[in-house]
Subunit: 132 residues, 2 copies
Amino acid sequence: MPGRRRRGAENRCSRRINRFLEPCLLLLLHGGESHGYELLERLGKFGFNENPADSSTIYRILRSLEERDFVTSRWAEGDSGPARRVYALSPAGDGYLQVWVRDLEETDRILHRFFSEYQNHMKLHHSNGKKT
Amino acid sequence: MPGRRRRGAENRCSRRINRFLEPCLLLLLHGGESHGYELLERLGKFGFNENPADSSTIYRILRSLEERDFVTSRWAEGDSGPARRVYALSPAGDGYLQVWVRDLEETDRILHRFFSEYQNHMKLHHSNGKKT
DNA sequence: TTCATCTATATGCAAACTGCACCTAGATGA
DNA sequence: TCATCTAGGTGCAGTTTGCATATAGATGAA
């Protein structure tokens, strides 16, 4: 039965860190509601210093989370500056964060299996594993 | 000066595990030459048991590595079965593997900063961090 | 007043990645 | 003859991503 494709991201989490910003945003929102611009700045805490996130990516991820009902949003009139779209984590979003954490733990295991293979390999053939 | 985009994967490594199969293949080839079909099977060692890699992905990554001169290939007449395209790591590919390892170590640090933030957070607000 | 700048959100586009379906083709054995 | 395994590959559509750019309120300087 061809033409069966449906795939899509749906909620793949995909065993690799593709949308790693997503769990970071969820975690930040777990601490309380916030808006995109502020979240963007608070992402530095996770080590995105070089290679900082692009704002368009942040806004798009937040919208996508909202479409899947993992966050809710409301407009907040700023006491200064333009209005902000303030996001809050939903119960479903909290559950989704747990899913992400378990997925990232698995990713961590895979990553360490790679390191272990690498070190093991470099120990045997003690090739140019330093070169500096 | 608009129209300046060039981006592309080139050699981004991108601070997230996008093309994680790439370093795995490089590491496997570091142990000696091999062909796509065999590499596909040997990838299980890295923990791709569930969610195994798609063969088309493997073949495409190998071709892309060859285009960038990180591997070389030759046709080998099989003593059994159809001919195989056998890949071997080049010196440049060896260097590229080192780059990948350093990049993945950085990814690992970021990942652990996330876990640490998460655990810290769950300790404070001891919310439903279990739910099973 | 005008203008630059900061804050804040958002869209358009092209390049890149990925998974599924599908194709070719040699070898092998029933 | 035919199904199956081995081996490599393409086409396509869905999705992600980074850059450029647009919009617009607020703020302070000239």
